[in-house]
């Protein structure tokens, strides 16, 4: 069943309004774009459900990356969702979950699925790479780089040791 054009347009407009409000740190407006506020982060299994949890999540991010901006690069509209490819940019100038601010910039491409029931937005499900962000903040290294390999060997001797043993004995 093909989606009516008007409905697709309305959904895309709502997604743009949602992103614009986040960029303006106008979280009341962003919250109002949801019929039911809910975030799902696939990478970390985090779920924020309901107005209170979603608002707290935004405030936490806003404190860690006060200048964060999202640039939409493509909207894919399907029967029951708008799938957004976008780039998030920000500077880590506030504390984040026990990590003191590093002052570093992050830039990462991510995908967000805005899930709809009719014209009502009921969930934003986000796919992103945590490793990209941690590398850019300088608190993780690419594990296949030389420093990353030394660090892995230093901090995970048992796992790497077992791997080498397995390779040598061919099991």
């Amino acid at each position: 069943m093909a989606l009516l054009e008007t409905s697709a347009t309305r959904r895309e407009e709502l997604v743009r309004k949602h992103v614009d409000a986040e960029n303006a740190a106008d979280y009341e407006t962003a919250l109002a774009t949801f019929q039911h506020p809910r975030y799902e982060y696939v990478a970390t299994d985090e779920v924020y459900d309901g107005a209170e949890e979603v608002m707290a999540h935004w405030k936490e991010l806003d404190k860690a990356f006060p200048d964060q901006q999202i640039e939409i690069t493509k909207l894919h509209t399907s029967d029951d969702a708008v799938l957004m490819e976008a780039i998030a940019r920000g500077t880590h100038t506030g504390p984040y979950r026990g990590l003191p601010p590093t002052g570093r910039k992050m830039e990462q491409q991510f995908l967000a699925i805005f899930v709809f029931e009719g014209d009502a937005l009921v969930c934003e499900r986000v796919y992103y790479d945590t490793a990209t962000v941690l590398q850019q903040l300088g608190i993780a290294r690419e594990p296949t780089s030389v420093t990353g390999r030394l660090e892995t060997a230093a901090s995970h001797p048992l796992t790497i040791g077992r791997g080498i043993v397995r390779r040598v004995i061919g099991r």
Binding site: A2, H76, T77, L99, Y128, G138, I139, A154, R166
Partner: protein, 172 residues
Amino acid sequence: MAPLNPLTRKKREEIVREHMDSENRHEFDATLDTFGHPRYELIATGEIYDGTEEVSGYYDDTRRAFPDQRNELLALHHADDAVLVEAVVRGTHKGPLRSLPPTGREFELPILAIFMFDGDELTCERVYFDQLTVLRQLGIARDPLSLTGRLQTLVTHPWTIGRGVVRRVTGR
């Protein structure tokens, strides 16, 4: 935006399903054939594999590291010029992954793949996933926000964390 022709939609879905099924059957020549132009873009790592030779090499590398790798399709979204698939990939690390020796561990990774179409011709698969999810399960990385992860970060990145602490204390 004209509504998508139902025949185009059906054809695209068949191509995507055959692409994923042939990967599970380890028939990578058939997987290659699902492309009009073979191309992968891995967003997490910035890797691009373009053309038959590079894409074949990519299949060889991943299946050497994870010989039992398979995918399970969870949801499929039809857009104007793409089919977007939510899926789970599973595998066991039995061969070298780049320079990392095999750990023998299993991983389970949710992914989002964008199959990009020109008409009913598949021209690119762009994949969004989280590297840390895999590395953590292989036992070669820890969640930096967990307690052991935080201690490890402090031990291995004293300079970055030290500067951060100084900045917090001095308010600069």
